[in-house]
Amino acid sequence: MSTPVWAALDAAAAPAVAGIARRAQRGFDPARVPLLGVMGAFVFAAQLINFPVGVGTSGHLVGGALLSMTLGPAAASVAMTAILAIQALVFQDGGVLALGANVINMAILGVWAGYLPFALWGNTRRRKLAIFAGGALSVAVSAVLALSELLLSGVRVPAGALVISLVLFLASALLEGAITLAVLQGLERIQPRLVRQPRAGWSPALGLLAIAAVLLASVGVLFASQAPDGIERLTRQAAAVPGVWLDQAGAGLAGLALVYGACLLFGRLARRRSA
């Protein structure tokens, strides 16, 4: 059927999280624990504040980009991981098995993708655009990756649903960009020291290339995952998967785990649609 995607993601997530946590720990001392914990609680509480976007809908902050621009991307990754863990354990929101996938999508790749435009252009005239792009990119990348992982695991999604999903992702991404920008501007008015100073901008060409690379990678995964048979053949050859049982185990686990991951994602989007 399909590859044990979730297992691979969980396995990859473990050292990735450990790496990030170690890096955050080296950069800051344990005295930073309260800051990350409290700001994680802030992101949770921020879900209670509604941003009106139109008739019958309102949305809320996801937070990865905002945290990265104020606490730094490594700290933001740790805080977002803690948020995902609490969501899974305490609120049964997004399953425990999918934690690895969610951490990679949202806490690691989403946060760093969101930080990228800010790091590149946060010091230039295009600052506001950079902040907006960061917010949008963080959500877009997380969402596209989650969808890709879903498709990779063999869950068949009809083309119509796929298009609707992508449109939803785009809307959420734009909203996150707008909220991130508005909140950051609010912060700068009251307490400018809270916003990080990115290092002097790289050349715009290099920056655009980096962003293009991120976008292509995400979209590329999406399209590649549309052809699960091809991937399957490749991985079978690569991993020499023994026997039928492992396949079925992989399929079942992958399917279940990714349902959870996607539930978390769509849950967030669905909450945005509720007034």
Binding site: Q92, A161, L187, L256
Partner: protein, 242 residues
């Protein structure tokens, strides 16, 4: 608030509560794998596993109906998938996903509702999760309610000034952003004050070890029974169907 209920449940004193969290996690993982990899006679297996979990909930002296209801939180979203699968011509898969999602949530709920968070985090530490991350999770949990209350007060204050309702308004958007900025700063300053209190009380760089009681025979027995039971149930159900 929901997590207050869960916190209360987790501080119970039943036999299940008293088991080492590592034993519970082992049993949980086996349960999840058995469930996830099942594809034959799923409705019967699901019923058997549901009864097993309900019995465990009862043994843990938790409100069974309350727990069953709480695990149903996952249903609305998995229902979307059921529909999508049905549309793409595979209704069985959709149903299977819903069943598995619900039972997994219930199993996780059972473990979380019988283990106070610090103990759970302690078990995760022995499994190799970085301590820094676990301490952040613990702090997040501790201040979740406090910050949410502040946010709630802010929305209440705004609502009483006529800011409720979802109608599009640039003003409202900026007001919400302003509220978030204020909440951010208050949270940040709170974190600074916590840090000061820590230093004032002689903080040396660690918050102390997570509780980790030693493993007792009862824990091993629990882990074994908890792991074997779902496997046995599945073998029986699949055997009966064949």
């Amino acid at each position: 608030m929901r997590h207050v209920v869960l916190d209360r449940w987790s501080r119970g004193l039943s036999a299940v509560h008293r088991r080492d969290p590592r034993a519970k996690i082992v049993a949980l993982l086996v349960f999840l794998v058995v469930l996830a990899t099942a594809h034959q006679a799923l409705p019967f297996l699901a019923l058997a596993l549901l009864l097993m979990l309900s019995a465990a909930l009862w043994w843990a002296r938790l409100p069974v109906m309350g727990a069953l209801a709480r695990a149903a939180i996952v249903l609305p979203f998995t229902a979307v998938f059921a529909v999508v699968s049905w549309i793409s011509g595979d209704p069985q898969r959709g149903l299977a996903l819903v069943i598995k999602a619900y039972l997994s949530a219930l199993a996780v709920l059972l473990v979380v509702a019988t283990t106070p968070l610090p103990s759970l985090l302690g078990a995760l530490e022995t499994a190799g999760v970085p301590r820094f991350l676990l301490e952040v999770i613990q702090f997040l949990y501790r201040y979740l309610f406090v910050i949410s209350e502040e946010a709630h007060h802010m929305t209440q204050a705004a609502a009483s000034r006529g800011a409720s309702g979802p109608a599009w308004s640039r003003l409202r958007f900026r007001a919400a952003a302003g509220a978030l900025a204020v909440l951010f700063i208050r949270s940040y300053e709170r974190a600074q004050n916590i840090h000061r209190a820590m230093l004032a009380r002689g903080f040396q760089g660690s918050f102390g070890p997570f509780e980790s009681p030693g493993l007792r025979p009862a824990d091993a027995a629990f882990a074994l029974a908890g792991a074997l039971l779902p496997v046995a149930l599945r073998l029986v159900v699949e055997g009966a169907v064949r």
